[in-house]
Each structure stands twice: as C-alpha cells, then as structure tokens.
C-alpha cells in the first residue's frame, strides 16, 4: 500500500533537497491538504534526512561515553543545548538535578587462579564496591538454583552461568536485570559470599562484558562483576572437567574499582516546538543522553535522542508549526535507574517532579530507547478518536509498522516516570540485535544502520505531526491515575 501524496508533498520534497538548505516557508494554512497528507510528506522527507545520523555521529565522536553525573555528560548536555538552539528549537534550557554518582576508578581485572589459571573478561556492576578478593568459585547454572541452594557459601565467590534469551521484543532482559543483576550481589552477600560473578545479560557470543546497574550497596557490598558470555561458557566447561574428575576446585581473583563519588548533579536538556494554537497541550518525547562507560552510547541511547530530535527538525526545516507543542527532552542519568530505587535521581523522575503542575496538560509521552533498528509496531492508550488510530495506522504501514493492539504502552525509564499522570505511546523497534551490543564497549556508531535510523525518524515525524495537529486525547488506566 502506498499513500497518495500530492500538492504540498511535491513542494516539501523540492524545498527539502538538500535538507540543510535554508527552509522555504510553506503556506500550511493556505494549502488545500489534510494533516495526514502533510504528515505523509514529512514522513517521506524524513527518510532522506541525515540530521539524526550527523547529530549522533558528532555526539558520540565528540564526547565518547557519557556516564550519569560525569563531566562528559554535562559537556554533552551543554553542547546539545547549543546545537538545539542552532537547529531552531525554542525554549531550549538545561534542568539540573542531584545524583549520587558512581564511577569506575580504573582498570578492573578478573582471573582464574591455580590449576586453570587464565584471565577472564569482566566488568563490575554499577553501584557495587571496589575491592580485591580471591576465593573458591561456586557455580550455579541458574539464578533460581542459587536462591534455592542450601550450600554454605561463606567465603566463596558465587558464579551465575544463566544465559539470557534472545527476542525481538527484548523480553529476555527485564526479568534478569531486575533479579540476577539488581539483587544477585546482595543475595550472595547475605549468604556469606565474598564476591559475585554473573554471565552478562547478553544475546551474542562475542567476548564483551555487559555493564549495568545493580542495586545500590552504599559501598558496603561485595565485589560484583559481569563476565562475557564466552567466559561463562569457559567456566561451564571447567566445571564439566571437574565433574569428570579432571580437575580440582576453581579459584577466582577479582579486583574492582568502582565507588560512589558523593552527591553531584546530572541534567535534562529540554527543547520545544511551541504549538501555534494550543501551546499548553504538549507531547513530550525524547531519549537519554547518558550512557554506560564502556562504549560511546550510540545505540543506548544517542540514537533515541537523535531520532526524536530529528523528527521535530523535519518540521522546522519546512517552517511548519504544530498546533500543539512538541517537547523534546534529552534525559540525563537513565542508566542508574533501579527497580526499587529513588527515581528523583534519574532524569525521568526529576523531569516529572519539576513539571508536575503541567502534566495535566500533557497529551502524551513517549521515548526511543531500544536502539536504532527498524520500528516494527506502535501501541497507543485507549482513545475515543477512532479516526486518529486509522490515520496513524495508514501513515506508518508504508514503513512496515503495524499496530500492536494487545500491548499497553508505557515508555521506559525516562518518559515512563510520567505513567499515571500522562498517557504513553510506544514506537517499538526490532530489538533482536540490541542486547548483542547494549552496555558493551561495542556500543559505538559502527553499530548504527543509517537506513534503519531514517525509518525511525520517519515514523516519529509522521506520528508527532498527526498527534500535534489533531484533537486526539488518550485515556489513563483508571486505577493508575494518581
């Protein structure tokens, strides 16, 4: 199916080549075309735009990793704010908030000692403790087996070899990040262990360790690391040799260097396309600017801020003003968020608190934080405006995107902090490759497919233009309304 694109579309296309050329005013009010025809034209124009890739390239090149609360994150936020002003966004400003900052202190090591002596590839979990231990390893094939074990773990290093399932919707991740990674170190400590090692939450076989937050330990926990998938397989094979009587106990030496540096600040970068008719009715979208420290945060989540920013920039390039306000937020400090943590120390939580008085006027929120591969489907909260849903479906179908009518949208750690106050919508990427790279040194610009990135921008452009130029309203789930 192809949408008929006529009239204004031709004008838009002409005015948009090259994209960076000075925009020509397009007489929207005078144009005899519907909002959805405009949206389709903007969508098709977005497919040709390099704005997202160029922004992502400069961000990741210039600043490299951007850990929450770091100087790098701060400088990136300042650069991004200046850049957003240059691009033509309005009300661009930075909102700071306090954060207890954790950082690695230098090189970390993990190695098998003794009979099977060899180095392993590992990285300590965020929020865990600097220390140096050597002890006998006790291996568990699953986290549940460890929780259920009656074995005396006093003085031992607990090793969890459980692999993570690979799926396009990333469903293998959530459960394990909230259990093995978040709580594993504390559970091991409770049982007397002196160290904790887990197989990375990873879906590929490359020898990269995947970083990620564990529950805060306030510097009183035990050294805790994630090792690469091949290293976990190696430990599994050593265990098999042991069980076959071909080797003695395995000893592991760990040196971790992470520590809390005290109370510092992180920041959200906020930029608007102010609505021409109903500026207080706001659609808030974005991604997070911070990243883990091993890679340069291209898929997680430079691409998310690049995509949502570029979607709005397509409108600016055509001198088109949405009727409602489109607010783009580059949230800070997402990676330190915790299932049961203090959400005001994340960009999402801080933004919600800072804007609480406005939230009733917000029409919808969404974020892009699942890489930059092709968007597969969208989901919406319930609405009485059936025509809007049909129109959006028609706009996104040519991009290979269908509506997932069974899913309840919720954003993620960033915009999701507004759940209960503001209805969410989701544009869901294919995440099959995402956890191959997520939180590793390999999360660099090289992982981005420019063509799929453009498909993302096109989908966001069409969705935002339609949403900002209709009267659609979405419902909050009754019981979740606060």
């Amino acid at each position: 199916m192809k949408l008929a694109v006529t009239g204004l579309a031709a004008v838009l296309t002409l005015s948009a080549l090259p994209v960076m050329a000075k925009p020509k005013p397009v007489p929207v009010a005078a144009a005899p075309v519907s909002v959805e025809v405009q949206a389709a034209a903007l969508r098709d124009d977005a497919l040709k735009s390099n704005v997202a890739y160029d922004f992502l390239s400069e961000l990741t090149t210039r600043f490299g990793p951007r850990p929450a609360g770091s100087d790098s994150e701060k400088r990136a936020a300042e650069w991004a704010a200046a850049h957003l002003k240059e691009l033509g966004f309005q009300n661009v400003h930075i909102e700071t908030f306090p954060l207890h900052v954790w950082a690695r202190g230098g090189p970390e090591t993990i190695a098998i000692t003794g009979e099977f002596a060899q180095p392993l590839v590992g990285v300590s979990l965020g929020g865990t403790t600097a220390g140096e231990v050597e002890a006998e390893a006790v291996m568990f094939d699953t986290y549940q087996e460890f929780l259920d074990s009656a074995q005396d773990l006093t003085g031992k290093i607990v090793v969890i070899l459980q692999p993570m399932a690979k799926a396009s919707n990333g469903s293998g991740y959530g459960r394990m990040s909230g259990t093995v990674r978040a709580k594993g170190p504390m559970e091991a400590q409770k049982r007397g262990a002196v160290g904790f090692v887990m197989r990375s939450l990873s879906t590929d076989g490359n020898r990269f360790p995947h970083a990620g937050a564990s529950a805060w330990s306030d510097g009183k926990g035990i050294p805790a690391m994630a090792i690469s998938a091949p290293d976990a397989s190696q430990l599994g094979r050593i265990e098999a040799l042991q069980k076959a009587g071909k080797g003695g106990p395995v000893r592991i030496h760990m040196k971790t260097t992470g520590q809390f540096l005290g109370l510092k600040t992180s920041q959200n970068v906020v930029a608007d396309l102010v609505g021409s008719e109903k500026p207080q009715e706001t659609i808030v979208v974005g991604g997070h600017l911070d990243s883990w420290d091993q890679g340069t945060g291209a898929i997680d989540d430079g691409s998310g801020i690049a995509i949502t920013m570029a979607a709005a920039k397509v409108m600016i390039d055509h001198n088109l003003k949405p009727k409602r306000t489109i607010r783009v937020v580059f949230w800070g400090s997402e990676e330190v968020s915790q299932p049961a943590g203090d959400t005001t120390e994340t960009g999402g939580g801080a933004f919600r608190e800072a804007h609480k008085a406005e939230l009733a006027n917000y029409v919808a929120h969404a974020e892009s934080d699942f890489g930059a591969d092709k968007i597969n489907n969208f989901s919406l909260m319930p609405t009485d405006d059936a025509a809007f849903v049909t129109k959006l479906g028609n706009l996104l179908y040519p991009l290979g995107i269908y509506q997932d009518t069974k899913a309840t949208p919720g954003g993620g750690e960033d915009s999701g902090a507004m759940n209960g106050f503001v209805p969410a919508f989701d544009l869901n990427q294919d995440g099959y490759r995402y956890f191959d790279t997520h939180h590793t040194p390999n999360d660099t610009l090289d992982r981005i497919d420019p063509q799929q990135l453009s498909q993302n921008v096109a989908a966001w452009t069409a969705t935002l233009w339609l949403m900002a130029n209709t009267d659609v309203r979405f419902k909050l789930p009754a019981k979740d309304t606060k």
Copy 2:
C-alpha cells in the same frame, strides 16, 4: 562426483562407530583395496570424528592463553605430550629451546585527553616497551603517507589509520604485519615520536584490539599500541571535526606495561606414527601451541594442532600403520617470529636446527595455521608422480577442495622454517573470517565451527595416508636449495 568406496571402507566405517571405541585390527596387507580407497574410507570416517574438537576444547579450556615462553605454554606442552601418548602416538617427547620472553605486566590503557576526552580500546604490540606518555597525536591515513611525511614529529604520537583488506586468502595481512606493525614503532621513534598507535590488523568492525609482534626493541623503544577498528574510525571522525574547524589538537595518553623478562625456554612437542616400511622417510606436519595472551588461541592455533593430530589419530583408531613416518609437531613460540628476526627463537627454527641431520630424509612438510574454516584448495611442489596428484585431487574433491596449480606451497612460520631443505605442501583454508578474530580476546572455542573443523581433519587424513603409503617425492626449487 563421488568416489566409489568399497570393501575395506565398509569395515572401517563399522569399526569406527563410535570412534572412541577400542580399535579393531584391520588387515591392511590382506585387504584387496588400493591405498586411495583406504584413504577415502579414512577421510569419510574422519568427518564423523570428534577427536579434534574435544582436544581443542580441553586445551583451550584448561590452559586459556599460552603466550610463548610462559608457564601456561609449558604446562600445555606437558599435558599435550601425555595426551599424545595416551592416544597411541610413538616417540612422544618435548624439545626445549631458548627464548627471550616478552610479556604484558598488567592492565594497559589508551585514552584521548582534553577536548575530546574518552577512553580507547588498545593493546600494546609484542616486543614493545613499557611506558607512560601523553602527547599530541598526528594522524596519517596510510603508512606510506607517514613514511613520506616531512612533518616534524618530535614529541608527537604517530597514529596510522590505514585499514586492512579482507580476503579469503588473507592477502591483506602479510604486507601490513611486516611493515606497519613490525617496523612502524621504530620508524616513528627514528622521527622523534614518543608513541605509536596503529589501527589493528583487523577485518571486522568489532571493538577488539588485535595483538601481534612488532620488531624487537630491547626495551629501548617507544610505547606502541594497536587500537580497535572502531577506535581508529573514531579518531578519523575527530580529525574530520578538526579539519572543519570544530576542534583543536587531539592529545593521547598511553600506558603500556610489556617488557622482556630475560632468557627463558619454550618447547616443541614431537609425536610420531612410525612408518612400517620406510620409517626414515618422514612427513612432518602440525601447528603451534602458543597463542597471544588476549584470547585462548582456538583459531590461532589450537585448531591447527588439533586438526593435524586428529588426522593421524584416525589411523591409530583403525590400527593402521603408514609405510612412511608421519610426524606431528606442536611447535612452540610461533607468535614472536619476526620477518627479519632470529628464527632459532621460534619453534620452527629450533626444530629445523635440532633435526638438520634428518631433513634430507623428510619427504614433505606442512602446517595448519589459518583457523578452522573449510579448506578450499591444496598446492604441491613439483613432482614426477602425476598419478599421485590425480589421486589426491580425486580424494579431496568430494570435500570441496581443488588444486591451486599456480601457488607455490611454503607452510608458514613453523614448518616453513624448513623451506629450502624439505618440500612443502599446503592445505589452504578459507580465511575470510580469520582476521576478524585473530589475536583478539575473541579468539576462543566459540569461534570454531565443528563441521568445518571435521572437514579439515578429513582432508589432512586423506592427504597424509596417500602421501605416507606411496613413493611420491617432491622437488625443491633449485635456487632455494641450501
């Protein structure tokens, strides 16, 4: 094309399931089958054998990395010798030789400082110097551009961004390992530079740095590192920002820890299937036991020793004795070899010197040191025995292997040390993936495809059986004969 396999082949197949069962004597002399029919049956049996994979798995699991001259290499050699005896090899022994050992002293770091501050992923080159420097980087797109440059490099860090070409025959590697990597650090030092950084000799885009030998510097050189391909691309993008007036000079900080530990020893492991009729006529084959320190040396070169050993083991399993001797050597200390270095400090050179008196009786030499992907072609030195060439071609064709009649075989750093004394033959693997992983942390068992590994064993089995049971003789190139 399928070869007719009759008579003994059926017996062999029956006796060989399972392979690890006690071998049944096969009455070769009585069997009314030709050598090539025997070879075909052994070949097909080798395709079902797990001997190579099991050996490779235990070697890489038990010992991890096996740097030349290390305790790990020594323990692996002792284990391998005991294993070879158990498997039924004869005359199994270890031959030691002296080696000036170089080793990393601990974690190394490389980072951009200042305006573009961010860590890079790098590893120091073998034989280079421990040190810590910070200086302005001067980037060159090619090595030739650096050599030709008139720029004053005093006090600078030289960065070579030249990428390596990807090819099935690995042709992109040799020229660059012998120039950029071997000589680059010294050339930079000559021009007053205080550090040397090169893009890894790599054919993929994962963020692994590739180790490798540089020319010896006797501890008086400058810190020299290889950075991963994505890091080289990152530096290239930073250079582009600079050239666009969007940034100042790039400064790099390097901390390297490698040093020479003095004169120690390495060793070759030698094992025979003694010939039943002409034991002095020897075919010598093998691979190298040592590996770089980042991975566990599965593709480089645990697979090579596993393949050649397993090929001979198929004969043992059938209680078949070759007429000529098949000698399998696990060479030590291959990775430190230098284009212009002292070859008696490598396993290949030491073996040649130790066995000089026997070399005139050696029929041929070959090695497997190009991973474990499928063998594509073979090449032979000239022979008057045209029937042998036809028979070998017929034996290998069903495995998808053709004769490369244009190539001159030469072995590699190991058996190739005998060039000029002993004719070489080559069984050449498809190396398209090889330099994706070679010398990186990612060189682990996970990279091995068991099915392709078995194809290798089958090809070696057929080739060795045919060569050891005919009177074929190969010629040395006249001018190279010493």
